[in-house]
Amino acid sequence: MSELLSDLGLNSQHGGQIGEGYGRPKAEGADFSHGIALYLEKVSVWFDSFRALNDLSLYIEEGELRCIIGPNGAGKTTLMDVITGKTRPTEGTAFFGQNYDLTKMSTEQIAEAGIGRKFQKPTVFENFTVMENLLLAAPKDKTVKKSFFSKLSSDAQLALDESLQQIRLQEFIQKPAGLLSHGQKQWLEIGMLLMQRPKLILLDEPVAGMTDAETERTAELCLELKKNHTLVVVEHDMSFIDTISEKVTVLAQGAILAEGTLAEVQANDDVIEKYLGR
């Protein structure tokens, strides 16, 4: 019922924000005062009898670039789904900063709170130009009422310039996104995330299907993004991870197998056995 009410807009806008309605001042955005951006504690996800995530605890520090690797079916995408509200954990808690309970928020609310997600398969609006794609992501207020008026705020203009500069698609702004190369589409999608000025960016296999040059460029982009954002990257490409990673988390069968630098986890016996192979 409460979900129905919130769909009708009768419930509070930020269903997941703690403290609201208790007379406490509403925090502006996610509160990272303890230095942690993302808390996942004892998260389990059950699909019938199958445990996609099994009692998983993960903490992402603010400003960190965390790589997540693991064999197929290890639960990497389910993890992303839990963070973005697509899948509700059967057990456990998921917090964004101190104040957003992700398990109680809708996908749209989570996006508003400052978590941007790039899908595994590049998803851009193919009939729109690069510029139109970016502008779609621009407005802070994405309600229907607001969309009847067309005005680009100076803030959005700034975000547009910054975003274009980072993804280096300035010369293609009038090109339909459908005509971009695979790699350019991936960057455009990242650019759309940047337009929302997210605090945490989730990248699901950003270099899958890319050429070597594109992979290199994407690594550069990730390192640039790290300066102002917290990143979580799911990847299979070990050389790519080697270029960008500080700390790597290895998932297997829905649980954390090992955590550490790439060299450390590559030397870990469990990891070698279950993932890398001898």
């Binding site: 749209e108 508003e112 997600r117 998803t123 729109f128 008026f149």
Partner: protein, 356 residues
């Protein structure tokens, strides 16, 4: 902003569209000329043009949800008929005067059902024309979109809805005249419905509503709202992850579309002189989708053109060669699907490109 840009981005198209609308707005008044005048437009023609413009208005409404948001409705005949019935109630009350409408007396009913209360008032009838399709579209759309029903499943449900409504309206007990529906209209706000001036006025009003809806929807589609609808068609998922509550975009477009279809129905009924449950026949709704596809989806002007052309051809063939009309409609649909994926508008654009 130049006035022509209200009609089209290209100046020449804008002029062509302006001329067409000017003709549609002026033509009805030729019906008022004396019968022996060489320029007199017969009652047959003025009602035919009026009716086809009503159908063009439905096509425009359908293009909003199908052409832009990618939601294919195969049940827009329902909203068209609901608007028609809402206004038909007023016409029935008007012709019945103080008595109950004829069909109720034949059923030996002694009092009006509750939902007929107030329908003798013209303004309440107009309100119902908007409210009934709007509210039903809202309720249906809210639950369908909230349950994330999409694509062909959604289309099938809209089809089932209109069929179910047709069955409901066929029953005499429902209180809408059963399979005969409403007919035998006499007056609108006291004026003779068959008079030349009333016929011309209705036809003119239809053209005016069509023009205003076209301009209104065009400017709306050029706003971020229209972009978001187009983005929903391409990838609704991505949009949600960007923070858009797509439910409200789809629902608002759906309700607006249903209301426009309802208004079209309300304009249609006094000109056709009859409304019955066959308007809710699923085949009618499918035909509406054919008009949109034939004219050119997502162009607004295309569906108007498509509805005009196909209904023009239909009028000719159902009189001249009634036995082959359905074959022609079928052939037309095949030709459009295979050779004209962007409809007549796409064809015109192709010619233009070859010129240069």
């Amino acid at each position: 902003m130049k006035i022509t840009s209200l009609l089209s981005d290209k100046p020449y198209s804008a002029i062509a569209i302006a001329v067409c609308f000017a003709v549609m707005l002026i033509l009805p008044w030729f019906h008022v000329l004396p019968q022996d005048s060489a320029l007199h437009l017969s009652a047959y023609w003025v009602t035919l043009i009026g009716k086809i413009m009503c159908l063009a208005l439905v096509a425009l409404a359908l293009d909003l949800v199908w052409g832009y948001a990618g939601i294919l409705s195969l049940g827009h005949g329902l909203y068209f008929a609901l608007g028609g019935y809402a206004f038909g109630m007023y016409l029935m009350r008007e012709s019945a005067g103080e008595q109950l409408p004829d069909f109720m007396r034949f059923l030996s009913w002694t009092e009006l059902p509750w939902y007929w209360v107030g329908t003798q008032h013209f303004l309440w009838a107009l309100a119902l024309v908007i409210l009934v399709p709007g509210v039903i579209a809202f309720i249906f759309g809210f639950f369908a979109f909230r349950s994330k029903i999409k694509g062909v499943y959604f289309s099938i449900i809209t089809q089932a809805m209109t069929f179910a409504a047709a069955l409901l309206f066929f029953r005499n007990e429902t209180g809408f005249g059963g399979n005969n529906g409403f007919t035998g209209f006499k007056t609108i706000i006291g004026m003779d419905i068959t008079s030349a001036s009333m016929r011309a006025t209705l036809c003119f009003l239809t053209a005016l509503v069509l023009l205003l809806s076209f301009i209104g929807l065009r400017s709306l589609m050029n706003k971020p709202y229209g972009r978001v609808l187009g983005a929903i068609r391409d990838s609704e998922n991505r949009l949600q992850y960007l923070g858009y509550r797509t439910l409200w975009y789809k629902l608002s477009a759906w309700v607006l579309s249903a209301v426009i279809a309802g208004v079209a129905g309300a304009l249609y009924v006094p000109q056709a002189g009859i409304i019955n449950p066959s308007e809710m026949n699923p085949v009618n709704s499918i035909e509406m989708a054919v008009w949109v596809a034939a004219g050119g989806r997502g162009t607004l002007i295309g569906p108007i053109l498509g509805a005009g052309l196909i209904n023009g051809v239909k009028t000719y063939f159902t009189v001249a060669y009634p036995e082959i009309w359905l074959l022609i409609l079928g052939a037309l649909f095949i030709v459009v699907t295979i050779f004209l994926p962007k409809g007549v508008i796409g064809l015109l654009e192709r010619f233009k490109k070859e010129d240069h």
